[in-house]
Amino acid sequence: MDWEEEYNATRSSGSTTLVASSASSGARATDINTRRAPSPDAMSIFDEPAATTPLQQLIRHWMNERHAPTILPAQEQLLGFLLDHIRRQTDTVQALRGDPSTSEEEHIRIVLVQTEVEQVKFIVRSYIRTRLFKIEKFARFICTDEETQRLLTTAERQFAMSHAKNVDRHFNLTVLQSLPPGQAYLDHTHEWEPEMTTRPNRDRAVFAYALRACPPVRLPSGLPLEFKKNQLSVVPYHVVEEFVLRGDIELV
């Protein structure tokens, strides 16, 4: 029987009927074809990023962190997993290099592994330093804000406190202690002045790319905006903040 004809016959039947297994090797393939294709709604469940590797997740978090004006939750588990992986890879590579029985082909593979390890290390490094930069910028704010403190790792919290203390001490020594007592405080601002502590600016515009369809949100002008799947828009950060935290939207 012609393979094409068989295929067309089973497609046109449309229901989940098993084709009587013929001797041809095309039988197994046609079984799959007779199963009804899942409806579009059900398909979206199969698009879940649960299948993404830790590296892809880290890349997404890294991009979000670079574009977001606030500090996003620390991905300690993910980082820990990747750092362990890097360590195991480098140890294996070291062992294989020292072992005289590795073949030429293995050596080439080792070079490839090392290239990839370097790239992963670069991304981890950039992620950590982006967070560190934001922490330095908002150090005084973090010391007073409980909610942001929960988003940081212990080491980052400690760094924020010591950095804030360091900067404060420097200002005191250079400027504030020489001023008359009425002016010697850092936080004493009048109503018409901007605050002394930099707060994260949630009104900054970001490019938001929707990975999944999202419920409608309200723009500052009052108009509602609904994100369909794979839609790219420029919005103020606070409009999409919770979607970014949930993973429905990523910043590009």
Binding site: Q158, V167, H170
Partner: protein, 199 residues
């Protein structure tokens, strides 16, 4: 040209100096004399404002003017110092966290005030502490501007660095020689200027 100055003129000069520093991408010398004159001005303003410190319903206009000038001076001073701190931090990270290199370079050192040197030392300590968490696997002070394309890089030795341990064994870097080495091993030497990357 009259000799009288407006309030906050000196503070404006400080801010202009900070801007000049950003535009020329250069850290200028710490303007100690200007800072001191501004502080002196603050004290004079405070004394002049004292006489108006009456407890009335509406503060007298001179008091408002003095308070605004005082606040602006303070803010300009803090902005200048903050700006310098930012530039110092940038310099620190560009050199890969090599504090001795900044402090031993007499040209750079002369531009800093002693307080700034203390700040740099403290900052270095907190960064080292933070870095120790990851330093087994990776060095966070390495470069993040350019993603790695190749693991090996061809370098030209500008200054003698002596014998350096690399993955391929120990290599003796002498001035004028060229090597092909693993980038991660010698990156810190490139940032510190001992080696030069060749296209």
């Amino acid at each position: 040209m009259s000799d009288t100055r407006q309030f906050c003129d000196l503070a404006n000069q400080l801010v202009i100096e900070a801007r000049r520093s950003t535009q020329t991408d250069n850290l200028l010398k710490y303007n100690d004399s200007l800072v001191r004159s501004i502080i002196r001005e603050q004290r004079d303003l405070e004394k002049a404002a004292q006489q108006y410190m009456v407890d009335a319903d509406m503060p007298p206009p001179p008091l408002i003017i003095y308070q605004t000038a005082i606040a602006r001076n303070k803010r300009c001073l803090l902005a200048y110092h903050n700006h310098r701190l930012e530039r110092l931090k940038d310099m620190y990270w560009n050199l890969g966290g090599a504090l001795p290199q900044i402090l031993n370079n007499s040209e750079t050192r002369s531009k800093l005030s002693p307080h700034e040197v203390d700040f740099l030392r403290e900052y270095n300590t907190s960064v080292m502490e933070f870095r120790s968490e990851f330093s087994y696997e990776l060095d966070i002070t390495a470069g993040i501007a350019v993603p790695p394309k190749d693991i090996n890089v061809s370098v030209f030795v500008v200054r003698d660095c002596g014998v350096i341990q690399t993955e391929q064994g120990s290599i003796d870097f002498r001035k004028g020689q060229r090597f092909i080495v693993r980038k991660a091993d010698i990156e810190h030497l490139i940032t510190q200027g001992y080696l030069e990357e060749v296209a």
